[in-house]
């Protein structure tokens, strides 16, 4: 036993980068082919266009880059885009969980129909959604006319941006949480009840921690989609400078002025910020998932 324990660290130490690349004997064929294909594909479709963005923005030089991205109007759009996207993703986590819960746990007439409706924001052209939302929430629209007397204005305000982002983000949370919830055995909840936990304790101490990785994934997806969303937002946002302009709109505006470098500068900031946020969420998710292996 002792000799095994002593011998063990040696191969452990040698394991490193070289073994990572060394071809290992595997029953699954085609590792190098599949990996090579994936890398080339990723490069062509994702990395090269993104690199072009960085390259173009670099023509501005540091000062030009700084000037292009720190104009008050641009900064306001950063704040709105990231703020509204984070809030929208958070709202979607709460309501997406409730939706998924209802769809998994209960049987009711029309369940399949509702299940199908969830995917509509995926399929609908975003401009259609934007126009529909703007019409509904305008002060003379069905919903807007009810809210206006209460002093709540949705259309053409940051709140309108939020509504549009909630709309397009919902399916991401529902579709990531639903299968995980389906996987949660009723026995686990029964065990909690047998141990004296009430409904709220079972929900908060057993079900939510169990769903946390899925909720984080849903949050990340909904957030990523919301940051990049254009079509559905511009109709309801009203696009007032400093108030309801989103980043993608700023980019379009710059493009229309033939300021390509300025547009890519904003895009670079947007990319880096999104990447950092998504990375953070992924790390958080990996951390919560550690203990979530299937039994």
């Amino acid at each position: 036993m002792a000799s095994i324990a002593l011998a063990a660290p040696a191969p452990q130490a040698r394991r490193g980068f070289s073994t990572l690349l060394k071809r290992k004997h595997s029953v699954l064929p085609g590792f190098s082919l599949a990996l090579g294909y994936s890398v080339i594909y990723l490069a062509l479709v994702v990395l090269i266009p993104l690199a072009a963005v960085f390259l173009k923005s670099s023509t501005l030089g540091w000062e030009g880059f700084w000037n292009a991205t720190t104009q008050p109007r641009v900064l306001a759009s950063f704040k709105l885009s990231f703020g509204a996207s984070l809030i929208a993703a958070a709202i979607n986590v709460v309501f997406g969980l409730i939706f998924a819960w209802v769809l998994v746990r209960y049987r009711f007439p029309g369940k399949r129909l509702i299940d199908a409706l969830i995917d509509l924001p995926f399929a609908l052209p975003t401009a259609v959604a934007g126009i529909a939302l703007a019409t509904l929430y305008a002060n003379n629209g069905w919903v807007g006319s009810v809210l206006a007397p209460l002093g709540v204005e949705v259309a053409y305000t940051p709140l309108g941006v939020l509504v549009a982002l909630v709309f397009i983000g919902l399916p991401f949370v529902v579709r990531t949480v639903q299968p995980v919830l389906e996987d949660l055995e009723a026995e686990v909840e029964e065990a909690a009840a047998c141990l004296g936990a009430n409904r709220w304790q079972t929900f908060s101490k057993v079900i939510v921690p169990y769903l946390t990785p899925a909720l984080l994934t849903g949050f990340a997806l909904a957030f990523a989609r919301a940051v990049g969303e254009y079509g559905s937002v511009i109709f309801i946002a009203g696009n007032m400078p400093m108030v309801s302009e989103i980043m993608p709109l700023m980019i379009i505006t710059k493009l229309e002025q033939y300021d390509y470098a300025g547009a890519t500068a904003i895009a670079v900031v947007m990319l880096i910020a999104s990447f950092v946020l998504l990375l953070l969420i992924n790390v958080l998710q990996a951390w919560t998932q550690r203990s979530h292996q299937r039994i």
Binding site: L195, A197, R294
Partner: protein, 370 residues
């Protein structure tokens, strides 16, 4: 703490899971609910726990009617077949769960919880796993943790639903001995559900045999094995050879041969079936001098360890097989090999009326027809 159920009925759609079941589980005993799958044993356990509601009938815990109590208030410990551990919590947190969800005024202090969980983990001999997650444990370890978790809230009764069903044979055997020892230490009234007759006979103080939602027999393991109340119980508790014939005084006529019977209450000339366990048959070499018994031919001999299983056919019913288990030494002494002619002398025959035997055949665990 005693448990009793009276006149429990439960239907799932058109399927009757429990048909007017009444049972008493005396305090401090370990009782096995034994039966084939679909016999209603798990449903009965879940109704006692409060996880399922009976269509009619009552559950009494310590004499008090508990039928309307929620599962939270029944103070039962329940162990599930697939463990149902909280996989996002460590072993320690799993066991501590029941203590931590108590209302604030009843909740023990953190130090008290820590001490209690340590004690329980020591009781199940897994204190060294406190910081692991369920996914890092073996099946047997998971089930012991599930048991420790159930015991943490000091339940009045312990209910185990096929606790060893998901484990491999060797672990299962170890764990059921361990459960028996644990029960002898704790003396908590326990009911466990199983479809494995060996497990029930080995572990339980009393065995309740169920079939088609009804209780067939209740008794100690020896009672139910030695004096099965019905053909179903006989067939379910072990392999059995069936001999069809007619009652003739103190004998069962099988074709032109006779099997001696003990005491029985069947009418003369009634159509009956004799039940004989494979190890309760004497095997004699047919050298023309043997008197009595049924003639048969050895088809195959398979040995496992000290015992040999002899498969035979009788000339009167060539399609059917008789199985006899003997020590391999005995087989060597009488010098019987494959193809030899022998005489079968059952040492103990239990007869049931032919109709009763026919109706139970479908659900009994593979009786060997003969």
């Amino acid at each position: 703490m005693s448990i009793s159920v009276s006149n429990i009925n439960k239907r799932f759609g058109g399927f009757t899971a429990l048909d007017n079941v009444s049972l008493d589980f005396p305090s401090g005993q370990l009782v096995a609910l034994l039966g084939p799958s679909g016999c209603g044993k798990t449903t009965l356990l879940r109704i006692i726990a409060g996880l399922e509601r009976a269509d009619s009938g009552e559950v009494f815990l310590e004499g008090a009617n508990a039928s309307a109590l929620h599962v939270r208030e029944r103070e039962v410990g329940f162990v599930f077949q697939h463990y149902a551990l909280f996989r996002h919590m460590t072993v320690f947190d799993n066991v501590a769960f029941g203590l931590r969800v108590k209302p604030r005024d009843q909740r023990p202090s953190d130090a008290e919880i820590r001490r209690k969980v340590r004690d329980l983990l020591q009781l199940v001999q897994l204190d060294w796993l406190a910081d692991r997650y369920p996914a890092q444990l073996s099946g047997g370890q998971r089930q012991r943790i599930a048991l420790a978790r159930a015991l943490a809230v000091e339940p009045r009764v312990l209910l185990l639903d096929e606790p060893f069903g998901a484990l491999d044979a060797k672990v299962r055997k170890e764990l059921r001995r361990w459960l028996r020892q644990l029960h002898d230490e704790l003396h908590i009234t326990s009911i466990f559900v199983t479809h494995d007759q060996e497990e029930a006979l080995e572990v339980a103080d009393r065995v309740v045999l169920m079939d088609h939602g009804r209780v067939e027999q209740v008794g100690t393991p020896d009672e139910v094995y030695d004096h099965p109340a019905s053909p179903f119980v006989y067939g379910f508790l072990g392999s059995v050879n069936l001999f069809h014939g007619r009652v003739d005084g103190q004998a069962l006529r099988v074709g032109e041969h006779a099997l001696e019977l003990g005491a029985h209450d069947l009418a003369h000339d009634a159509s009956a079936v004799g039940y004989v366990r494979p190890h309760e048959v004497q095997l004699l070499r047919d050298d023309g001098l043997v008197d009595g018994g049924l003639p048969a031919t050895v088809l195959r001999i398979t040995s496992s360890g000290a015992l040999a299983t002899v498969e035979l056919s009788r000339p009167e019913s060539p399609g059917e097989r008789v199985e006899v288990t003997v020590f391999r030494d005995t087989l060597r002494q009488i010098g019987v090999g494959e193809g030899d002619r022998v005489r079968l002398k059952p040492l103990r025959v239990r007869v049931f009326p032919a109709e009763a035997a026919a109706s139970s055949n479908s659900s009994a665990a593979a009786p060997l027809a003969a």
